[in-house]
């Protein structure tokens, strides 16, 4: 009965979403205040209905109701409770429900925190979000119903894919979706502004916190996914340029460009059309990512079972949403005007260069991801595009982007002087160049890529330190007061930029100095890597809740002193009969020691892979710093000030003028 109630609740949600999608937008066009006013209650009702439906599915999982097809396909009575709950989004139908739920959460959030917006603007924004919701709810109810019954019921479930039975599964997808779907807010703001015809600084100011919030979630989501892949896939990689990873990375790149471009539009009124286009693209790429994962068009570790009807439906939805908004853009954008003029050397041009580089990077990732499909569709055969392409394309694009990142924040708006800049930054340049050459020489490996990576990382750190120093210098108040006096948004930028530097350092060092060995180890055997001795203690059989495992212990010592013990498991999940490797990792600031069991050989020996990964944790720490910077910017006090009164005053003034 509960699943039917959940299903019914989903149907009601569709009806509410339809009303939300049409009534407030029509109301805004006709100036009907009652219809516009419907947006808020409808957004809340929609959230309650989808949330209830989600709880019903969660209940079916918790109570092991195997008369529901989706539960039977993705759960098992032996599955531990936390994974039984996470299994709600472990398959196609449930992840769509999570998508719809998160969209309704963002919709409610917009309805709550938009009191300062003009009524017609708010009505249009919530309406556009309602229309997106209609698409997803229709998709679910027509071809991907999570509540479909299985008659007769299965005796037990087929179990969640063992790859997903990991704490990462509990956080990674919801975080990623919060980011993906969060861009729908910036998208809806842009569409609402195009519909209403007023693209101004106020629009950019309202969009900024929402975009930053979505970007923070996406950053954390991608970071969690990368970290998960690192310890779960068992070969020590942290990014694979897999089609689905790319699908999350493209919106991130465009979202990052959007954050910067919104800043220009708000402060200087420039780049308006470009900012709108970025807002549309960020969300479009999120939708495209959903399509790529759900349709089976590309092969990937993330792919779900495919059904061509689903693919056709999502593609039609994509064409309506993206095609429609790009058409609206083509129609309205030429009328928005150019904004303030600026010189070649000015913060505007630096941010423009940043935007162009990030957009080109996103396009090249898109090209690499879809290239196999293009070639196949044109009948030229099957190819796959892997890390060599992406590495080759990415380094030349990111090098100027990171270099300009050091300069951009200290250049004046409108026009600046190049000689003055050069004077100011000559120390930062010298210090980072010297460090980039001396440090690798001390570590014993200087290659052009290591030198370049280190130079860019130290360049960002040095210029940022220079900027902070100059901003804090020369006033009489105590340091703490001076720090407090600067807006948090600015500190957020500083921390996020330093996060990029930390990330770059991690990537450069791990790529340049990592080492690995693959050895055959019998109990008592010792392997040597990076100055450490790895002693194999043999393998014990252990029994997990829904798997059996061989657990191998490797004692790590240096110069006879024991440092740590790595435990790697080779698990066999009994229901799906799938083997999984759990790597044994000892993470630390300086380096990770990483061991994973391979295959059993004769006489109790195993093939073992051991990795030494210097500073690999810095990669994820850098991502966390970026996300923290974003959060700090969000807590800026200007977002907490009520602006409604001021806006009303402005509006009545305009009416008088008209």
């Amino acid at each position: 009965m509960i699943p039917e109630i959940g299903h019914f609740s989903l149907i009601l949600a569709l009806l509410v979403a339809l009303s939300l999608g049409f009534l407030p937008i029509i109301g805004a066009a006709r100036g009907n205040a009652v219809w516009m006013g419907l947006a808020r209650p409808l957004a809340r009702t929609q959230f309650l209905l989808i949330g209830f439906s989600f709880l019903c599915l969660g209940y079916a999982f918790a109570t092991m109701d195997y008369s529901v097809t989706y539960v039977a396909a993705n759960s098992n009575s032996k599955l531990p409770i936390q994974f039984r709950i996470a299994a709600v989004w472990g398959g196609h139908e449930g992840s769509l429900l999570l998508w719809a739920l998160i969209l309704s959460v963002w919709t409610v959030a917009v309805s709550m925190f938009s009191k300062h917006l003009p009524d017609d603007m708010r009505a249009r924004i919530l309406g556009v979000m309602g229309l997106i919701s209609v698409g997803f709810l229709l998709f679910m109810l027509m071809v991907s119903n999570p509540f479909e019954r299985l008659i007769p019921a299965a005796m037990d479930g087929r179990d969640l894919n063992p790859l997903l039975q990991d704490p990462g599964m509990i956080f990674h997808p919801p975080m990623l979706y919060m980011g993906y779907v969060g861009f729908s807010v910036a998208f809806s703001f842009a569409i609402a502004a195009l519909l209403g015809g007023h693209l101004d600084a106020a629009w950019a100011r309202w969009s900024r916190p929402w975009t930053t919030a979505a970007w923070v979630f996406l950053t954390i989501g991608i970071m969690a996914g990368s970290n998960w892949a690192y310890y779960e896939l068992g070969w020590g990689g942290w990014w694979f340029w897999d089609a689905v990873e790319n699908a999350s990375f493209m919106p991130w790149l465009v979202g990052t460009a959007l954050i910067h471009s919104l800043a220009v539009t708000e402060k200087r009124g420039s780049f308006k059309a470009w900012t709108v286009l970025l807002a549309i693209c960020a969300f479009s790429l999120s939708l495209l990512g959903t399509f790529l994962v759900r349709s089976g068009v590309l092969t990937s570790v993330h792919a779900f079972a495919t059904d061509p009807r689903r693919g056709v439906f999502i593609l039609a939805f994509l064409v309506i949403v993206i095609g429609g908004s790009l058409l609206l853009f083509a129609w309205r954008a030429p009328t928005v005007g150019r904004g303030g003029k600026f010189d070649v050397v000015s913060r505007e041009s630096f941010l423009l260069a940043n935007n162009v580089l990030l957009a080109v990077a996103a396009i090249s990732v898109l090209l690499g991801t879809l290239y196999p499909l293009f070639i196949d569709a044109l009948g030229y055969g099957k190819i796959s595009v892997g890390p060599p392409y992406f590495d080759t394309v990415f380094a030349p694009l990111m090098t100027p982007a990171l270099f300009l990142m050091g300069i951009g924040p200290i250049v004046r708006w409108k026009n600046a002087s190049l000689p003055e800049l050069a004077m100011r930054l000559r120390w930062a340049f010298g210090v980072s160049l010297a460090t980039a050459i001396i440090l690798p020489l001390l570590l014993g490996n200087l290659t052009p890529m290591i030198g370049l990576g280190l130079f860019l990382a130290f360049w960002i750190i040095a210029t940022t330190v220079n900027m902070v120093y100059l901003r804090l210098r020369g006033q009489d108040q105590p340091l703490f007061t001076r720090v407090k006096a600067i807006p948090r948004a600015w500190w957020g930028m500083v921390i996020a930029h330093l996060g990029i530097a930390i990330f770059t350092l991690g990537v450069t060092i791990v790529k340049g100095f990592e080492s690995e060995i693959a050895v055959r180890m019998a109990p008592g055997d010792v392997a040597h890597l990076a100055g450490y001795d790895f002693t194999f203690n043999g393998v014990k059989e252990i029994q997990g809740p829904n798997y059996t495992a061989s657990r191998g212990e490797i004692r790590v010592s240096k110069n006879g002193v024991e440092r740590t013990v790595l435990a790697s498991e080779k698990r066999l999940y009994t229901v799906t009969n799938m083997p999984m490797t759990e790597a044994g990792i000892s993470p630390a600031l300086i380096h990770d020691l990483y061991a994973s069991l391979g295959e059993p050989l004769v006489d109790g020996a195993w093939s073992v892979r051991i990795y030494h990964k210097p500073m690999v944790e810095w990669i994820w720490f850098g991502c966390l710093m970026m996300a923290f910077g974003g959060m700090l910017a969000l807590s800026d006090r200007r977002y907490r000030i009520k602006k409604r009164a001021k806006n009303l005053a402005e509006m009545s003034e305009k009416e008088v003028l008209a």
Binding site: S284, I322, F329, K382
Partner: protein
């Protein structure tokens, strides 16, 4: 206005490819051997290991080379179709018994029927490597000159038989 249409145009091109992509299977890997002569081998026969069998003996005929094994569940799915096909006498089928043991393979043919004119025993899978077999069952259609005309990856389905294999065999037999 014209410049503002560029994003839309680009998107529509991508959407066109995505639509085409829905009807392509990214997992389907074409065999590089299609259009090339079938690799030669000389292997013992399953029913009489003292005799050998080679593709040369089939020159002048259109025939199917079907890799299978008694341990392979998917082979059991396609087996009834192969038996039907052999009863019609339409096209001879040679089996390539891949990484299998003789008693079990013979037992299986007794139980489920024997659609094969003859079976070659590829116990260590060496010939399978020449043919690029990466999963049984796989089936090759070979023409009168000994050239591979078509490769079916995975079990033969009724659709594949009706829409691809039978029309192709008819065409090749008239050549």
């Amino acid at each position: 206005m014209k410049r503002a249409l560029i994003p839309l145009a680009l998107f529509l091109v991508v959407a066109g490819f995505l639509f085409r992509g829905l009807y392509l299977d990214p997992r389907e890997v074409p065999s590089p051997l299609v259009g090339k002569p079938a690799p030669q081998f000389s292997l013992p026969r399953l029913d009489d290991p003292t005799k050998t069998i080679s593709p040369k003996e089939m020159l002048g005929k259109v025939w199917l080379l079907n890799t299978w094994a008694s341990w392979c569940p998917a082979c059991k799915d396609e087996h009834p179709l192969l038996v039907e096909l052999s009863k019609s006498g339409f096209v001879p089928i040679i089996g390539l018994d891949y990484k299998d043991t003789n008693p079990e393979a013979q037992q299986w043919l007794v139980e489920a029927g024997n659609p094969y004119v003859a079976n070659a025993v590829d116990a260590d899978g060496r010939v399978g490597i020449d043919y690029g077999v990466y999963g049984v069952p796989e089936t090759y259609l070979i023409d009168k000159k000994g050239v591979i005309a078509y490769k079916q990856i995975g079990p033969i389905t009724i659709e594949a038989l009706r829409d691809k294999i039978i029309p192709l065999v008819k065409k090749l037999q008239t050549q």
